[in-house]
Subunit: 415 residues, 2 copies
């Protein structure tokens, strides 16, 4: 593969014109063949991964874990390819169509974005996931993964590209940036002539770096400082169940809960019960003065910085509020516009919360953990957008498309 | 009004929370009152405009023309406000709604973007148009117009804000940047904490400056290097009618035609006829060798730079092509992805053109001039997007909105 980034861009754009025209059946068949090819080449993939792991031996264990491939994990990745083959293809769908006053037939048709750039960390599974979603939605993709996973990524891409080649599809529909220097990453983020969009996947730090440095349009994904607000008219057990689920079921992900706001009228009764339910998970509690008074010395004082922080860990900050208005103001001030929940039996306050909270997903009486492509029924997702332009919330295949107006006339001219 | 740009951003964000919740009837009633207020204060507006015109006396006449307000033009602007009041309000619409496997009721609801920044030239009518569209779609707006129109813009905003104030709506829903220095414009484009989107309206140069310098997400509008391709199986008269309309009906706008590609099999017959039809408009023709051979010495040689240029004037560049494939390759190489037309009687080639051309709007047998919010039936537009993210083509009210997932449960937690 070429190491010059402009050359990669040119090749991707060329490939995009071809794969944008592929039929659904052909794309699905190729995705299934890719799954088979991955399984067949398991030992080669593991060998490449081993090289990466040897260099990464001294890195933190959770980093190494995400970098590690096993036979079982490769099967999982192959399964993911087959699932993408099952998803409905958005390309060619018509969002709406009408006849205008001049008699033109106008249709708003779904078409691929063109060339998508993905910047991510040392997680080889993302290489295949992202390539599959981009391919299925008719887009060429340029992948820039963490340098620690380069051997794995190159081998995975080699396998996918061989399948493209066997099926007379331009192999440059899937390309890896081999040169993992910062300088090349910088040039990649400025490749406006060839890249239609850049999607960073990973930590808040990675995403911020891309947003700050890119000239190519970016879709911001991921950061989730999610809140649960417990209203005074609410069910105590439901509150505890949702809080335990939202905080503890998988704390490292973006849709997990980070903050609990609770109405003063129920704080004395509910907080000890909730703390009791969280105890088996060893959740560290941080609270305002009222919370500390209620729960005692086990609760650390919360700081202003805490309110802004996405812990992604077994930590929960708690604030006692005087009203739903105070809760809404707090959330709109500190949240990352990801997912927010109210627990209430009161109709008016459920509506107020849904209307006034500014976030990608707003819930009544449900866990924030539901903000997810699979849970919403979209299937695999490329990320969860926390911005407002183009896509907001879980991004499935449709969010990797744009539209064009296809207009058929009989010689019309404008008056 | 505050001159500090961060203060403007904070106030806009505060106002956005209020006006995002206004009902359609209230917004429409305010828009109609704004129209009345403009008419009532015509003399004050003309007086402010006169100050701008005095300073601009030595500027080019078309610049001064766009800056000039008259009683009739103010009536036109007021009429525009009433038309925006008539448009359907997208806020609160549900794009789709479903029950997921966990039994959650999920609705994708249209909500305002929040705070919109508009950067434009010395055209006071844009001040009111943009403010009206942003207000109707529930967004706060910060307007940064050309410095030569500052007196006019401040007076217009004063009138609109007085109507907001009379109706207990936060006046900071509409704000003008009084400090028209480049430094403040630069800070405005980096106001990521408060601005949700920046929309430049005006020349290609203005748009490029915003795209290059903004850190806030930008929607690129406007530049239109539009082509008409005349297939060999086509109607001669229809070809000439569409070309004359697309080139001459209003050459200064983005959806006018700039380039003619014509199949070699009909070039000898059609080109003299088309040139004859263009003659009354004094269109300057530039052509490749074949065109020069057919049309003679009146045709200037076309340069590589011509193919990239949006003339916005009575100039047309012509190329004779061997095939539709050559035409499509030419267009996809040089176009600005705005509007492209094929004139043909052939079914397969009409489909090929619609499928393979990469542009916001692709036409068969119709003038490129139809790419317009009014012609598409959307009503007034904020611009025509030539980018692929968020919105593509004419941007009406819906394109000034985003969505949020509104999810109602009964205590669901995730497995």
């Amino acid at each position: 593969m070429a190491s010059d980034i402009v050359e990669l861009g040119k090749r991707a754009q060329q490939a995009a014109y071809q794969i944008g025209q592929l039929g659904t059946e052909q794309k699905n068949s190729i995705l299934k063949l890719m799954a088979e090819a991955l399984i067949e080449n398991t030992s080669e993939v593991l060998e490449a991964n081993q090289k990466d792991l040897e260099s990464a031996a001294k890195l933190p264990s959770n980093f190494v874990d995400r970098l590690t491939l096993t036979e079982e994990r490769i099967e999982g990745i192959a399964e993911g390819l087959k699932q993408v083959a099952q998803l409905q293809d958005p390309i060619g769908n018509v969002d709406k169509a009408w006849i205008n006053k001049a008699g033109l037939s106008i249709a708003k048709r779904r078409v691929p974005l063109g060339v998508i750039g993905i910047i991510y960390e040392a997680r080889p599974n993302v290489t295949v996931d992202a390539a599959a979603l981009c391919f299925k939605s008719g887009n060429a993709v340029i992948l820039r993964g963490g340098k620690e996973a380069l051997h794995s990524n190159l081998k995975l891409a080699e396998i996918l590209r061989a399948v493209l080649n066997d099926n007379d599809v331009d192999i440059n529909a899937i390309q890896i940036i081999e040169d993992t220097s910062h300088e090349t990453a910088g040039r990649f983020m400025e490749l406006t002539d060839y890249l239609d969009v850049l999607i960073p996947r990973g930590s808040a730090r990675l995403i911020k770096a891309v947003v700050d440095n890119a000239k190519v349009p970016v879709i911001e994904t991921g950061a989730g400082n999610c809140h649960v607000y417990v209203d005074d008219d609410s069910d105590k057990k439901m509150s505890a169940d949702i809080i335990v689920n939202a905080k503890c079921q998988r704390p490292a992900v973006c849709n997990s809960m980070e903050k609990l706001l609770i109405h003063k009228n129920v704080a004395v009764e509910y907080l000890p019960y909730i703390a009791e339910k969280l105890r088996p998970y060893h959740v560290e509690l941080r609270g305002d003065k009222e919370t500390q008074q209620i729960l005692g010395s086990g609760v650390k004082p919360v700081t202003e910085e805490d309110w802004y922080t996405e812990y992604n860990d077994y930590i929960l900050a708690i604030r006692v509020v005087d009203s739903i208005d105070e809760a809404i103001a707090h959330i709109n001030k500190y949240n990352t516009k990801h997912s927010e929940t109210i627990i209430t039996n009161n109709y008016q306050r459920s509506q107020q919360f849904l209307d006034q909270i500014d976030a990608a997903a707003v819930y009544v009486n449900a866990s924030t953990r539901f903000t997810d492509g699979f849970e919403y029924g979209f299937g695999a997702e490329i990320g969860i957008s926390t911005q407002k332009l183009h896509a907001r919330g879980p991004m499935g295949l449709e969010e990797l498309t744009t539209t064009k107006y296809v207009v058929r006339g009989q010689g019309q001219t404008r008056n």
